[in-house]
């Protein structure tokens, strides 16, 4: 008997994503969700000398790339690349289960800060 497989669906934005949009996706994604946050050659696209993109777009892309790396370091996403052609890659973030941490009481934190001040 064959076990059913869940097809992976990759969300691909119609326009370049911003850093905050990437963060909002991470917050809402369930484990296994995939987001293609960039298509191209990231390291070259954010390199100023090549001028592949306008300055503002390049800066935003650099921030997006850094944030994706940060999210991976935090254990929130896996980062993978899919080769789509010569020097062309789809950069994909795959959501991971959210790391568990003991809840912190906001009121206790605010009280402690008031006492310290």
């Amino acid at each position: 008997m064959f076990m059913g497989t869940t097809p992976f669906i990759t969300v691909r934005a119609r326009r370049p994503l911003t850093e905050i949009e990437f963060c909002a996706w991470v917050a809402q994604a369930v484990p296994g969700d995939r987001l293609e946050y960039h298509r191209g050659f990231l390291v070259l696209d954010i390199f100023p000398m090549f001028a592949r993109l306008p300055d503002q777009q390049r800066a935003e892309l650099a921030r997006l790339g850094s944030r994706a790396f940060w999210a991976a370091e935090q254990g929130l996403v896996h980062l993978v690349q899919e080769r789509t052609g010569p020097d062309q890659f789809a950069y994909i973030a795959v959501a991971r289960p959210k790391p568990k941490a003991a809840a912190v009481s906001l009121s206790a934190l605010l009280l402690a800060e008031q006492e310290a001040a």
Binding site: I20, E21, C23, A24, R67, A102, L106, L109, L110
Partner: protein
Amino acid sequence: MQIELFPDDIETIIREADAAAQRLRRKLSLPLCEREDLGQDLLVDLLRRLSAYDPSRGSIGAFANIVLRNQSSRIAMRHHRQRRAQGGSLLSLEVPLASTREPVGDTLTEDDGLAAWHGQTCCAAAVTELHHALQAALARLPAEDRRFCAALAHRPVTALAAEGFGSRSALYRRLADLRHVLTVHGLGPAWDDLAAA
């Protein structure tokens, strides 16, 4: 000034207030049940101004009439202002909508209230969710950032810079970064909203 009122005067005052309330209700096209409220508003204002009544200048009825007319104008202006602010129509919560039997007030949820219109979260479930999200997000922040956030609840960035939290520019950079970090932990704009935009 203390004035002496006779039972006839009191009756005149109440009758005039009642008539003024009836006129105002009709003028504003309000439902019948609003008449008592209007009458009380008018009467309270009239009683508050009774000390200005001078018997030598006219009867109590004439005085009451002028005061009630002025207050009616003020109430009417307030109603018109509210109607304009709410898109031109005014509903009473105690009157059923067309083709329904229950009053409007019974069909409204907390999300339909004025507080919700102004962006305040009224839904108990949403408030609880936010509370949990806040606790979870705080738990994932480094201790230094937690302290920074808590300190920001009481003092501005300039004050924190003076207290040795770091330079102002460094604190603003940290704040900009925290906006993204907190969004990742569910305390920022929703992906669905951003994607729809």
